[in-house]
Symmetry: C2
Subunit: 345 residues, 2 copies
């Protein structure tokens, strides 16, 4: 199967981007949404920041009740601190993220070399639904509008919020479209049976798991008719959690969805599933072996190693230019073939 | 405060109801939805059944892929069995319920003595979304229609499904309106700002908790604009999880909601909160001390003891006749006063 990682990987690292304020350092670049706009390829990158870490303390930003960024400091030797996960800490019974993410826009003429355009700032956490940050945005173009589905994180939980834009300067808020615990929301690029549809990933603390579900809507704001589409598979590469990548690709054989799967060791690989064109709750085929496994050094070591995670690509005929986050640290890209993936299923 | 438990409590026990088939035994009666229909008071009781338990095995029913009830047997000495919770077992990594619930109708002329009416059967699990059972139904009357919101349990997760009926014989399916993990869904009895609204309780395996959320809809099928309304309170009687009872009661001072709260020891008490009439995401007041605590013998011991759980009542002026499940075993009732509860907040 043709999988050509870019020779220039990683295409973007934290050093390539300026922090949002001089108080912050960029820890990681992650999981970009991808789209075409004004003749260019754009990435909506998740930028995870925190202040400089001083000896003896863990410092992290959150949005206060005035929606201003405030830095908290926790003594790193506190017996009430659990810092075993680099991404989430628990202190005095409450969960916090070690970094706060916002969404930054970069663009490129060739899809390889990206730069910021000062006219297009992206999105920053804006209210109490996003006080721990905004993450992993999928971008779906329907007609001349772009729909953004991203993870809104706050002490209330991890939920999916939608915004819409035409010009990437003004954004309309569609609100929290999926309540906690939910991530990995990917909108279909067209209506099916006169309904908008999306894939999402609710998570369960008891009975059920981290499975991919389907939902439908008439207005993109209100969602219903939820049904489970695909589950984790014990003993396989996607045994612990699965989640949609970005919008399914319409092919003659069905909707092709590139998804991520993680196992009990938190190794994140990519696979594919083919959904019925008229009834996308029906899975026609699914990768037995992963399409892509963390294997390059930048995919195996980083802020959170052994991770390949994609939520954006450009499709041009048979060619997929897929952008992905590697080890929760850097942005990479690879070329894939629609036909090759379909043949593998 | 006036809280008058019925002298005849419990008003219904498993012995009062016939099993759904001779193969089953009724283990528990739980958490009834309550409504008025044709001049009578009706309860839509959750009936939890399982086959007779034989020495050396745990036996429980689930719906197979033909939607027929099938009984599974697990050796009770299996090292791969975790049966520490009487409600849920884990066997070979999978969760199962020890009982399967359906929803049974009983009616009463006086609100005290209930009996079945053969014309009205209630609801049984009907498809793969409900293969582990259907539970804890709220009944909300809007005009001449009744809207049922209940917990649909399956290996896919614990979700909220809605059905609608006028005659309690024919039911229209509105589908899964809230994906996992979600319970305790209570619809408002009228539109607010031209939107249907409901309270629900998503649960999070990480960041967030078991909190009460609000959502809105234009058609009752598709839901959005989710927002968190109320959280658990550390160190108090509602420290571990909270969930709505049934439809909020419209008062001059706000929407009065009787809700349940559980602490780390799984003691379930009842409290109240008052929500703003025009913006019910705004909590105006909330019980510091619980309104009702398990204290009677039937509330303290049973299938799962120390539980008072309500999801149904009849309101007549200042009088609330509240029905509730006690110790996950029997159905009880109590009289409360709207004014007394408001004064206590």
């Amino acid at each position: 199967m043709r999988i050509e990682r870019f020779i220039s990987n990683p295409v973007l690292t934290p050093e390539d981007i300026r922090p949002s304020t001089p108080l912050m350092q960029i820890e990681c670049l992650l999981n970009p949404g991808v789209f075409r706009f004004r003749g260019k390829t754009w990435l909506l990158i998740r930028v995870a920041e925190r202040p400089e870490q001083k000896v003896g303390a863990i410092s992290f930003p959150i949005l206060d009740h005035n929606n201003d960024i405030k830095v908290f400091h926790i003594p790193s030797d506190s017996p009430e601190l659990d810092a075993s996960d680099p991404r989430v800490i628990n202190y005095k019974g409450c969960d916090y993220l070690t970094t706060m993410s916002h969404l930054r826009l970069v663009c490129s003429e060739d899809g390889i070399h990206f730069h910021e355009d000062q006219r297009y700032a992206g999105l920053v956490p804006s209210d109490q639904h996003e006080s721990y940050g905004i993450e992993d945005c999928r971008v779906c173009q329907i007609d001349n509008r772009y729909y953004l589905t991203y993870t809104a994180v706050s002490p209330d939980g991890v939920a999916v919020r939608m915004r819409e834009t035409e010009d990437w300067i003004h954004f309309e808020d569609y609100g929290i479209i999926l309540p906690p615990h939910n991530k990995d929301c990917a909108l279909f690029t067209e209506k099916i049976n006169d309904r908008y549809m999306l894939l999402h990933r609710p998570s369960s603390p008891e009975i059920g798991g981290n499975y991919i579900w389907l939902a439908e809507s008439t207005d993109l704001i209100h969602w219903g008719r939820h049904s489970c589409v695909a589950k984790t598979r014990p003993g396989m590469w996607d045994s612990a959690r699965i989640g949609a990548g970005c919008s399914p690709i319409r092919t003659g054989k069905g909707w092709l969805e590139i998804y991520h799967g993680a196992d009990e060791n938190n190794r994140y690989c990519l696979g594919a599933m083919l959904l019925d064109l008229k009834n996308p709750s029906k899975v026609l085929a699914r990768s037995i072996a992963p399409l892509m496994v963390p294997s390059e050094p930048y995919e195996m070591a980083g802020f959170f190693g052994n991770v390949i995670f994609t939520n954006g690509h450009i499709v041009d005929g048979d060619d997929i230019t897929m952008y992905y986050g590697a080890s929760d640290s850097v942005i990479c890209a690879a070329k894939l073939s629609v036909e090759d993936i379909l043949s593998s299923l």
